[in-house]
Symmetry: C2
Subunit: 194 residues, 2 copies
DNA sequence: CCTACCGATCGGTAGG
DNA sequence: CCTACCGATCGGTAGG
């Protein structure tokens, strides 16, 4: 369907160039139609953005509910590392990742509120998964007895930092930072052996 | 001087709206002149950007060489925390911080290379200061014997994560994340007592 | 430092 | 789904 094609192209281009710097004529060209034909499917550019945002949320939910099943035979450290890797990879390699980056950092003004809301909702889903792993770790005395908020907040900050760094530095520097951050993070939350 | 006024306004607006979304007519209006008068001082919009970038570098250098003198009577932990706070504050509250955020995340294409180069140069200066503190900490057996690259890389990742989060989440959530990240980071690099 | 203007491009519309 | 067109705005120029 043409409408889906438009949405997919828009998702890609909004992520690559930002909302304001993506011209409807460029979207049309990539889709293979002329600009006015877009208006057969959407009432305005803002309308397209709203539907793209819905699509992103749908994909995020699918990702969290299906791909993020973590093997229960892994140790707590391995599980956490797995979440760490998966989240990093998704943010860096999926179209959705670039879209979030653009759109959470410098949102089109009129959408700032909705975007924040939806992003926090998605993050909340991930937080639940995280908490389970931390809970298990604390029970097994593998993880230090820190408040859940401290554990999740510091995890997110590392993830966010790497997310930022991945696009800016080269792959080599990114990998260095990822390993360093993981090492220090894990040493930080690890239960001190007695 | 009008030229300086233009540069200051441009620095501010490039940081707020990005390069492409800042119109010369808006800069002119804020300065209090008409758009064509800008061309008495600059040959093009790109020219303005180049000079703004130079100005930013100048300010960064001034910051690092003057404000970042850390009191030597502080403990290693206090010194590191001081650097952590100062860097965070500067990135969040100074015009230069917003400018870096815009411009390192989504640079105007033709400037991507220069920007990266200059940013890394600035970061390198900071790394030297950081290394001194880590070195002291390791000598005093306050900090774990990890490679310098691991210590600095993980420090930067936390800083970068907080930098990202500060503008996105409210001040409350930011403070929570800052304290949590610091706590886990410090536990991670701290020398394990025997 | 200004007025007056340029060609290009933007989001969006009319009408078929 | 198209051609043809709109008013607004962009970076930049001419000419004084």
């Amino acid at each position: 369907m043409t409408k889906d094609k438009i949405l997919n192209v828009a998702l890609d281009m909004f992520g690559q160039f930002g909302y304001e710097d993506t011209a409807l004529s460029d979207i049309a060209k990539t889709v293979g139609i002329k600009k006015p034909s877009i208006y057969n499917h959407f009432n305005s550019k803002e309308d397209i953005f709203r539907e793209v945002l819905d699509e992103v949320i749908r994909r995020e939910r699918a990702f969290f509910s299906e791909e993020l099943k973590i093997a229960s035979d892994l140790t707590c450290e391995e599980q956490l590392r797995e979440l760490f890797e998966q989240y990093n990879e998704r943010m860096a390699t999926s179209e959705v990742g670039l879209f979030w980056k653009r759109v959470t950092f410098f949102p089109p003004e009129c959408f700032a509120e909705v975007i924040k809301e939806k992003f926090k909702e998605v993050e909340g889903t991930f937080t639940e998964i995280l908490k389970d792993v931390f809970h298990k770790g604390k029970e097994e005395a593998v993880i230090r007895d820190l408040p859940f908020e401290t554990l999740t907040a510091s995890f997110y900050t590392v993830i966010d930092g790497l997310f930022l760094e991945r696009h800016f530095y080269g792959e080599d520097e990114y990998l260095l930072r990822k390993e360093a951050s993981w090492k220090v993070f894990w040493l930080g939350i690890q239960h001190p052996e007695i």
